[in-house]
Every structure is written in C-alpha cells, then in structure tokens.
Subunit: 335 residues, 4 copies
C-alpha cells in the first residue's frame, strides 16, 4: 500500500535504499518452468550500470545479482523470486555533512515531509539506484513473453534531435542508445561539455514494442496505455508520457488521425491491436548542477542509462497483461 | 483484476455498458460521517452531461444518480457507497446493423480480440459514457479533501491555443471550460463547423490542483505523478500526460529547470511539495467522422465535456493518497 | 480496503445495508462467454430465501435479482457483472425506537465504535441479509467450474447430531438441508419449539466438495484451506472452521493420521490433491432471543438457510483458484 | 497473486525455499519512526528456533536475521523493510535420492501437480521453515501496537489436556509453552517417547489477545475473525480454527450463549468489542513418522515451536487492522 509493489499477476515488490545494505526485488507470479540464465541477467544489469561511458557518472557499481529464492537448478519454481544487489560502492564519506542538505528537485525535503525521517546518505528510495531492481524484474518478465521485442532509444537530448526514427529493432543504438551515429557523436560531445561545466540535460526517449498479440489491456482503468503510463511516470525524472502521435494529436483533426493507423500507437480503446506500440517519454535534466555536479558522481543526463529501465518496465506491464489474458474467456480456460 | 477497480484506500469499482441497464460505481473506503448533498452530486454530473451546448453531441442523457447503499440520513456510513445511473436514452434503433460494424479507432475490434464477444449496441465499457461513474466517485472523493481545489480547462483545440493561463481558480471558464472569452468564441465557431462537416478535433487540457498538503505520494511506483498519469491515461482518447514543464523539459538544461520551482509542477521525487500541481493532458480527436458524425450523436471534440471527468479522476487519486498518508508515521498513528 | 471485496482473480465486491435501497454485488474477473440462466440464479436465491419453511423467520423477501451489467444476450461479456436485489420488505415500523437499541451479540455497538454512525433500522452490513450478494456471486463462480460439485448439509443442531454422513452428493437433503429424514423431523420439531419459546440454537454444517482438480491452492498464505477458512469465518455467526479430521486431529497420532488419506480433507500442504474436500463449520445460536424472538421475524437457527451461502462461498474460492491456476506454469501459458 | 503476500496496509511478502539460499520477508506499510531493536528480534526468532529442547527436532538453525532495507540508525524509514535469514544448516546429503521421494501428507506431490517442478531437497515453500519470515514480520507488527499483548499456549497434546487455562499473560509457559508444570512434564515425557518410537502428535493451541481497542475489523469479508482464521489456517499443519466458545457453540442455545459475553471471544459482528480475544487452533501430527522420524531431524510435535508463529500472525492481522482503522471516519482524518 506504500506503493513498493507493481503489477497484478506478475507482481513485483522492490526494496532497498541507495546507501543501505542492498537493493532487490521479490517477484510473485512468475510461472514455473522458465529457464534462467544468470549471465543474461548480468548483461541486462550492465546495460544500466553507471561508469561505463564518459557521459555517465564516474561512479562505478558492480551490481552483482544474487538470487535468493524461486530458482532451482536453473528453472523458476513458481515460488517468489528474490534477487538482491549489494551496495558496495558507497563513498565512505562523512555523511553527517549531508544530514541537513536538502537538494532542490530531489525528494530530500518531500521525504522528510512525508515520513519525518530519511536516510540522508543518499536519495534513499527516490534514487535512480532503485531502478536496478526493475531491470532484474524486467529480465524475468521477458521470459514470459519471449516473442515480444522491446527497443528504446534516445530521440532528443536538449536541443539535439534525432532526424530519422530507426526502421526496426535491429538498428544499432551505439554506445549510449542513440540509433544514429551523427547524433550520437553530437550528444557525447555535448554531455561531456555539460559534465565539465556542472550542467545537466533532459530529453526524450522513444520506446517501440513489437510482437504484442491482439487483445492485451483491460477496458477501463487498466488500459494498456494507462498501465504503461504509470510504469514510466514512476521512473525518477520522467515528466511526460505519450502514445502514438501523442501531443501532436492536439493539433490533428479526426480525418488526419484516421488517415494513418500508426497514429494510434498500437492500441484502440486501450487494448493492443497487434500493431507496433510506440510511446514517447520526456525526462527532465538532473537537478544536481554546479559545483556538486562537477565532482563527477552524478549523470549529466540520465537518458543513456534509462533505456534498459524503460524497456524493463514495459516488459513488466506487458507480461502482467499477458498473464491476465489467460483468463479472459471461458473457452480459453476450458480448452 | 480485470481492471475495473482503481485506488487502494479510496477504492472504486465501476461497472456498466453504454447500452446496458445502468452504469455505476461502488466506492470501498469512504470514511464514515461525510455529509452527502445529492443536489451537488447532480450538478457535477450535469457538468459532464451531453446535449447541453451546441458543440456537444445532440444526444441527451438525464443521468439521474440513485444511491443504493452506504448513505443514511444524509451521511456516509463507512460502508460501500453504490450509485447507479440508468441508461434511459438509448436509440431504439435496429442494433442488428451494428453487429458487424467495427469502427476504426474504437475498441470494437480489440474488444472482440480480447473477449470474443461484445455488446455491439455501443462502445460498451470503452464508451465515454463509462466516465459518468468516475464523476460520481469524484464527488465523494472531494468530501475527504475539502480544502483542495481542482480546476481544469481547455488550453488548446486543434490550432486554437490559449494565450494566457488563468491566474487562479476563480477565473470563469465560460460555457465550455475555456478561461478566455475570445478563445471560447473561436472554439465554439470552429467546433460547430466541425460538426457540420463531420469533422472532429483533439486538443489539450490543463489541470491545476491547489491546496495539496506536503508529503502526498509514495516514493516508488505510486508516485503522485504516476498515479495521476494512470488516472488520466485511463480516460478514453487521452494519449498524453505531462507534469509541470512537461515535454518542454526535453529542451531545458538543469540550470534552467532549477531557475523556477514551477517547473516541477508541485512535486519532487513524486511526492507533493505543497505547491500548485499542474498537468497537461493531450486528447485525440474522436474517431467518428464523416457521414456518421453528421448525424449529430457524437461529440466533435470531447474536451468541453471531459474537464469534470479529469477533475474527478484527480480528486480520486489525491483522496486515496490523503488516506494513505494517515498511516505514514508511528507518531501520527499514536497521536 | 474496507473489506467489502473478496477474491483475487474472481473478485467480488458486495454492497448494501439490510434496510437500505438494495443489496448487490459487482464481480470483476468473470471470463467472457459463459451462459447465464436467470431462472437458475433465482433458484439459488430461493434456497436461501427466508419465510419458506416453518423453522425459518416468518419474514418474506422476494429477492428478485436484477442484472445491471456484464451480461448481453444471455452471455457474460468479460466486463464487471453487477446484480442487485431491492429491499422491498422492510417493516414500515417506527425505526426511531431502534435508534438507541444495541443488541448484545450483534454488531450494533461495535459498528458505532468503528464508524461513529450506523443504520439503526437493521443490522446494516452485518445482517445475514448481506449474504444474498454472496449467493449471486456463487452462481457465477460455478459457471467457471461446472464439473465441481458443492454439497453442504446440517450435521448438528444443538444436541441433535447426524448419525451417518451421506455417501454422495445425490442424497436428498429434505426441506431444510438435513440428509436424514429422522434427524430432519427431530430438528424441525425442536426448532418450532425454540421459535415458540423465544429460544435459538447453533450447530454444525458439513461441506463436501467433489471434482476439484489437483493443484489448486497456493503454497503459503493463500492455501486452499486458508482461503476457505476466511470465506466461511466471514459469514455472520460462523465461529469455527476445520478441515478433514479437524479438531479430532488434536487427539490423533501421526500413525493414525496417515492410516487414512481422508483425514487430510482433500489437501496436502494446502494444495488440493484431487480427493474430496471436507470441511466442518460451527455456527453459534442467533443472539435474538426472548420476547423479540417471539415476534417471529428472526430465524431460531440459521443453519437451514446458511447452506446455499456456504456452498456459494466455497465456489467463489475454488473458482478464484481455478483462474489463478491458469498461469501456474510457462508450459500452460505457451500451450 | 501467488499468495506470498498477506495483509492490506501492513502488507508482508515472504520468500525463500527451505533449502535455498535464504528465507525472508519484505514489509510494505510499516510506518516511519518505529524504534528497531535487533536483539529483541533475535529473541523472537530464538523462541521459534529448532534444536533448543529435547522435544524439538535435533536440527539446529542459527537463524541470524539480516536487515537489508527500511531501517536507518535504528529507526524505520517508512520504506519497505527487508529481512533475510540465510539457510546455513542444510544437510550436505545426497539430495538426488530425495528426487523421487514423495512424502504422504506433505506438499511434495501437490507441488508437482501445481507447478510441474519442485525443489526436492526439502519442503520448499511448504516447509515449516517458511514461518521464520512470519516471526520477523510479527516483530515489526508489534511495534505498531505496543499496548496489545499476545499470549499463546499449548492446551492439548494428543490425549494430554490442560486442566485450567491461565488467568493472565504473566503466567509462565515453561520451556515449551505450556502454562502448567504438571502437564508440561507429561508432555515432555510423552514427546520424548514419540521421538524414540518414530511417532508424532497433534494438539491444540489457545491464543489470547489482550488490549485490543474497540472497533477493529471490517464488517463483511475482512471481519477480524475471518482474517485471523486465514492467518492461522495458512500455517502448515493447522487444520482448525475457532473463536470464543468455538465448536462448543454447536451445542449451546441462544440463552446459554448470551449468558456470558466471554463466549463471543472478543468480537461482535466480526469487530472487536474491547474484550479479550480468544481463539483455539487445531494442529495435526507431523506426517513424518517411522524410520525417517527416528533420524531426529523432524519435530515429533510442532506445537512447542508454533506458539511464537501463531502470536506473530495474530500481531500481523491486528496491526493491519489498526492501520486501516486510522481512516474509518472523516472526523478522525480531519482531527
């Protein structure tokens, strides 16, 4: 009820503060019999890991996943899967000086307003570090829906915009999830400059999902677009979500909308229609700027590292709805 | 689990097809002792009712609410509140001809894909008519949070944009929820023209919420922005949601973001900071166009009538979080 | 969260006070395509209806079900099913005299303690009348699991005990759900006497469930026995629940237990093993006794009328678990 | 949805197989600001730990709790609390011989029926070892309701019955939770004998809860008795639950019931009335008997060790309802 749980059939509960002992996730609702490849899980985590590229934070985190339950001899048991990642790289600094530091745009003050207490060593639950748990859960979600493909990419960073959207999920996204080498070079240069200056940048992420069967999503509150919107807006710094033509819809007339089914973004009435699902997400620039940012322990822009998290959240939503769909008709149940 | 339920503490379940016997809502979690004013509830429903203005559908619906449970001698009992609205104005038409009609952009086909059956007389659960239940629930939600004020307005219809946002919640929103008489006249003229031509239009809604106490919203999945995003994206035709500076954030640098706390839209880390909450919602143009639209039984633009629904959904989210907040600290519980 | 909702996949929300406008239920999670026979539903309600036999309360209630949503042309739509029953037979008495009447053993005082308000015209939500909603939900639950058979019967009333348990579900249960004509006659005579004297009686119900497939029930909190126990103990006046050998287990040694698999009552580790499920339920005597009871508007013993409610609750639990089971293994999902 | 989660406001998710890496629990809904005393938590775990007494299994488990999240500088943060216990004492045996061993009365076969896979090294989730997570959660639950006292004791083992129930919660329960030294000696002798013979025994536990405020429990499905019944029946080997006079109610007439308010067991209409809550629980004899039992790695009777688990489950239910009660009336919310 404190909102650390997400999903109904494929239900995840994440836990852990950024500077506590460990972060992790419990997955309740993973079907039995799925093959688990720990190396693949590590790869997913590495896609999100900091310190891998010059435009990332310099902070390094090993993020070694430890499976505590729910997997036996390489297969899921149908019981809750728990995976943790130890926090090994906290700065052994004098945290006391942070005790009274309330960073604007962070949850420092609002957490105090809410709970009257906070772990002042870092962002606590509000930290981007919490998303490591989501990537782990996403790995398992994808095992349920192996034919569905998730492909996210940066389509804008500050003033730098992607000229042409990639045609399919095979297009390389380079080192920092930009499917265009010219834009990639510009963004890398720009973000290095930001890092030096203690500046930060926001941008847009485009998410494409292919292979979604028809009929996923529920008619009213749990429309697929609604659950995806919540999933994305629950990410730190995500401030906007749109489907298909998105905010462009405001300008379009009905005749223009219906001229191209792509505008619908893969759903009608909030239920998947079998076409490609496309969403656009807006992220704000990190609030850490100035001298503090120059220390290099913060990302000047979270977009390069947020892509695997976005894909994971989408997979969690789609897997959840795929499971729900198993009970949609009596014919299916009695087959 | 079929997603007809929304909210955790203030939990609503809506039911009813557009052309069935009745629509309605059960509210589980309404505290006891709230004063219920049925006339005020009717007023809220009237704000949403069709057929009130030339730019609406010509369809008339009386939408008389009947309270079946949970209220006694004008007060809430703490038990589930059930309110229904009978469907009285279905066209006594030959529905058989609709049996094989699958309207693009509607949920007709996707509902069949999902359930293998649909009530072909209308949109069923996907119909905008379902939102009457949400307005009813919103009325009760507001009783829990009487000091919080919700104010939605049209900020764009097709190419027509609002020049200046209203300064406070007292600014008149005219006949169709536009807080600017010049824009209002233009939109009315434009939508009348659309109606004649069988054309339709999309647009933007801005929602302002004032008086929200600090500390509402949960740190991870149930961030206030996430729950509000889901609430809005669960509305028919809503295709985009943003908070504060929203999609503008993509262009802004960290130094620009932090130059104005208004950019945060009333939240930090997904938890309310006591400032005004501002969201922007994109709605697509109704899919009914051409000859069918000319019959006049469809709205050429849903924005004029969606405002009370948007406010209701926001109230439902905020009331839910206000209740949750009652158990946030041990000090509060033991007071 | 106020506990008017039960079940996870087959999820029901009941509403209505005993002397309010109507009682009813919303079912969220009913699969699409089930055939609905309103006459069969009425028969189920009639089994529970008061005033049918001399040992019942004299109160008559017509209990006509009205389906408001979720059923179209005789089939379930996959959308929420709402059924209401109007309260038509409230005594048009001077309810004001009841305002300060707090009946011991009823929820009158505890409801005030909880909510600070109550509908003093009757038992409100605590009334046995609420169970009409459960019987309705049970009818739909059984549509999901047509091969499973539920058979409840009275095995004890006060000092009168059933000598031999029936061998199968075809044994007639007579007029008041006692599968033995001798005991039936004794109980009828005894309860008539109770009614005259203003006395009341408790007793035991035995519930047999046949045809449950192997594998239903979840390993930990949602063991089948745990969900069934909650279902039964949520019934007014139910004060005890046991499985298989039940309280006799206290006396049995391990070697005795394992001598007969019937002792397990159809479950091992809380998961169905394909054998007959047997439970015993204890109900206390109604608290209304003395002069008030002599008025004849109360049951001297609720057991004759509680049987269809017990069966309905069991069906709701089993249907819920049958739906859950659809997602237990990846092989099943990918079949 | 796989039922590893329990509670609505104070919501726990347990995980871990008996022979996996670790067992543990995530608590979502613990209010912020509670003082955590790890030594006290260890004491609670020690009350449940095996190998402490001659009538226990000889198996030793250290059960050292490790807090991974949600506690900072000795106080709860309002974020999810995760505590794990490593499995350190698994027999380094040739587990392969267990692969095809399906023990009657255990969940071995039903787990296969359900999931098509099991961790054959032990009981998996069905093992009594899972209850270590419940004792941990119970420790935190009690921090929310410090004035409520939980006192469980053995009232019967096989043919040995407690003569007089203890008068208050201060009465010593000796070494194995029997509040009568004569009976204690008899039970110890009897269980030692059982252990030697490879026999096992069932029995009854009585649970007394004192200090529960009036008004806890919800009117319909989440009656306090219903949630407590589910909590107890979710324990391995628990096969019966009763409230107050319990199964004795079957014999009692209404006039006898109402002669003593103690019969109600502390609730009316499923809502606490401020008096002592009393429940009786029946446990069956462990299914491991014969040669296997003589190895000494199984309890001949689980009652001595189940008491702290019973108390923990009760505390979890009561704490959950105490939190819910915070939002019962508008007056309380607006105080």
């Amino acid at each position: 009820m404190r909102g650390n749980q997400f999903g109904k059939f494929f239900s995840i509960t994440t836990f852990g503060e950024s500077h506590g002992e460990a972060l992790g996730v419990v997955i309740d609702g993973m079907p039995a019999g799925a093959l688990v490849d720990i190396e693949q899980l590590k790869k997913e985590l590495k896609r999100r890991a900091p310190g891998q590229h010059a435009v990332h934070t310099n902070r390094k985190e090993d993020d070694l996943p430890e499976i505590l339950s729910g997997v036996f001899e390489g297969k899921t048991l149908g019981t809750p899967i728990t995976v943790i990642v130890r926090n090994t790289n906290q700065k052994s600094a004098d945290y006391d000086k942070l005790k009274n530091e309330y960073r604007p745009g962070h949850a420092d003050q609002t957490t105090m307003d809410k709970f009257g207490i906070r772990d002042h060593r870092g962002g606590g639950r509000a930290s981007g570090r919490e998303t490591v748990s989501r990537v782990i859960a996403g790995y398992f979600a994808k095992l349920i829906i192996p034919k569905i493909s998730f492909y996210g990419y940066i389509s804008q960073v500050a003033h730098l915009k992607l000229a042409t959207h990639p045609k399919n999920h095979q297009v390389s996204r380079g080192e920092i999830n930009i499917p265009d080498s010219k834009m990639e070079a510009e963004v890398i240069a720009f973000l290095k400059e930001c890092k030096e200056k203690g500046e930060s940048a926001g941008g847009l992420v485009t998410l494409s999902i292919q292979g979604v069967p028809k009929g996923l999503g529920e008619p009213v509150f749990d429309k697929l677009k609604a659950d995806l919107a919540k999933a994305m807006m629950s990410l730190p710094a995500c401030v906007g979500v749109s489907l298909g033509a998105g905010f462009e819809f405001a300008n379009l007339l009905g005749s223009q909308v219906s001229s191209n089914s792509k505008n619908f973004g893969g759903m009608e009435g909030g239920i998947s229609n079998g076409e490609e699902i496309v969403m656009t997400l807006a992220f704000k620039a990190p609030s850490t700027i100035g001298e503090k940012a120059k220390e290099g322990r913060h990302d000047p822009c979270i977009l390069p590292r947020v892509i695997p998290v976005v894909e994971a959240m989408a997979a969690i939503v789609i897997a959840d709805h795929a499971l729900r769909q198993e009970t949609s008709t009596l014919a299916k149940i009695h087959r």
